[in-house]
Each structure stands twice: as structure tokens, then as C-alpha cells.
């Protein structure tokens, strides 16, 4: 069964460092997303991406964040200068269509900022 894969599963970084989280969405999906979950809090929407551009983003997704689809398979989330409060589980998701809410999620990348 096709699945969304994420790397790394866990990354520890120093405050101020750049981090790139990688995702390989399901191959025939067209819509891509990043969500995050800070420990003990709700899963929160960050950004959606379609046709090589951001389609929606939340207020969390400020200038420190960027997304990219550098090739036909990868979808990346970059945090330019990490803060302590960026520590969270980051989930990548993809979907074939828009509007139905049926997203396929990866297992998550846990980011720890020290």
C-alpha cells in the first residue's frame, strides 16, 4: 500500500540552526501539506502546497518557514533559524484531491531544538 514517508524520524538541533525536514508524498497525489504537533497540544495546520506554490498557510507559517518541491518526488519543510518553540512533531501529508479532507499522513519527524 502506498504511503507517505518522512525523514529524519528524529532530529536534534541547536537554536538558530537551519533544519530541513523531508517528505516523499504518495506518487499520484497532487496536494501536499505540513502539520505540526507541539507536545501536549493539538495538531496544527502549517501550509498546503499545490501546483508548485503555496495555496494556504496558517499564521504559524511565518518567514522562518519555507516549503519546496525540489524534484518530482520530494516535498521539504525548511526552518531557517530554529527557536526552542519549534520543537514539535512535524507531519507531512498528501492527497489526491482537494476539498474532501482525506489526507494521507506520514509517521512524523520529531524536531528537538536545544
Amino acid at each position: 500500500e502506498p504511503e507517505v514517508t518522512q525523514t529524519p524520524s528524529h532530529q536534534v538541533t541547536q537554536m538558530g540552526q537551519e533544519v530541513i525536514l523531508r517528505c516523499v508524498p504518495i506518487s499520484n497525489h497532487l496536494y501536499f501539506y505540513w502539520y505540526r504537533q507541539i507536545l501536549g497540544q493539538k495538531v496544527e495546520f502549517l501550509v498546503s502546497f499545490y501546483n508548485n506554490e503555496i495555496s494556504e498557510k496558517s499564521e504559524i507559517f511565518d518567514d522562518q518557514f519555507s516549503v519546496e518541491r525540489p524534484d518530482g518526488s520530494n516535498f521539504t519543510l525548511k526552518i531557517r533559524s530554529t527557536k526552542l518553540e519549534d520543537s514539535a512533531m512535524y507531519f507531512c501529508a498528501s492527497s489526491r484531491t482537494a476539498g474532501t479532507g482525506e489526507l494521507f499522513f506520514g509517521e512524523g519527524s520529531r524536531l528537538t531544538v536545544l
Partner: protein
């Protein structure tokens, strides 16, 4: 303000007993409703969804949920749980047909005991 609330953070239940996980939302606009499940060390997986039509929806693994518009609820039920149902369950809502931007509840940890 639009929000999703799962009142129970943990629900312990014995195997073969029925269970109901509660979800309420706050919205004056149309909604799409979802339940996702997260098994240990896995990503979120769609259990079931309500987009329109019959208010009683059936999902995978014997789960069902009922949309109650007057009570703004979408409770998840299963008549007889198994040990393997132990997981975190997330209610999620798309408000006003806002693409695939899911707003999640805080999650309910279902703990099935033998």
C-alpha cells in the same frame, strides 16, 4: 471562533465493551467532519468522514460516527472494542469547505484493557 473540542483526553475501557469518543465543534459555517486514528509509532490514518448525506457514517475497523448538526457533535462509536483499537483518536473539521485545511481536536487516547 471556529474550534474543535474532544472532551476526554483518555478513555479506558475493557475489551469487548462499547465505547464512545466525543467530539464537538464550534462553527456557524458548513463543515466537513473526520476522525483520524494514530497507532503507536505510525502516522494519522483516516477512520471515517462526513461530507454530506446520511448523518450516520461507517468507517474502517467497525467504527461509526453520527453527525448531529443541532448539537454540533460528531461522536465516534464502536459496539465492541479490541485490544488492537488502543490508539490516539483525533476528530478533525474542515470549516466552510476550506480545501483540506483540517482543524484538529486535542485527541483522545483509547486504552483497551484485557
Amino acid at each position: 471562533a471556529q474550534s474543535v473540542t474532544q472532551l476526554d483526553s483518555q478513555v479506558p475501557v475493557f475489551e469487548e465493551a462499547p465505547v464512545e469518543l466525543r467530539c464537538n465543534y464550534s462553527s456557524s459555517v458548513s463543515v466537513y467532519l473526520f476522525w483520524y486514528v494514530q497507532y503507536p509509532n505510525q502516522g494519522l490514518q483516516l477512520l471515517l468522514k462526513y461530507l454530506s448525506g446520511s448523518t450516520l457514517v461507517k468507517g474502517i475497523n467497525g467504527f461509526e460516527a453520527e453527525f448531529n448538526k443541532s448539537q454540533t457533535s460528531f461522536h465516534l462509536r464502536k459496539p465492541s472494542v479490541h485490544i488492537s483499537d488502543t490508539a490516539e483518536y483525533f476528530c478533525a473539521v474542515v470549516f466552510n469547505n476550506a480545501g483540506n485545511m483540517l482543524t484538529f481536536g486535542g485527541g483522545t487516547r483509547l486504552m483497551v484493557k484485557p
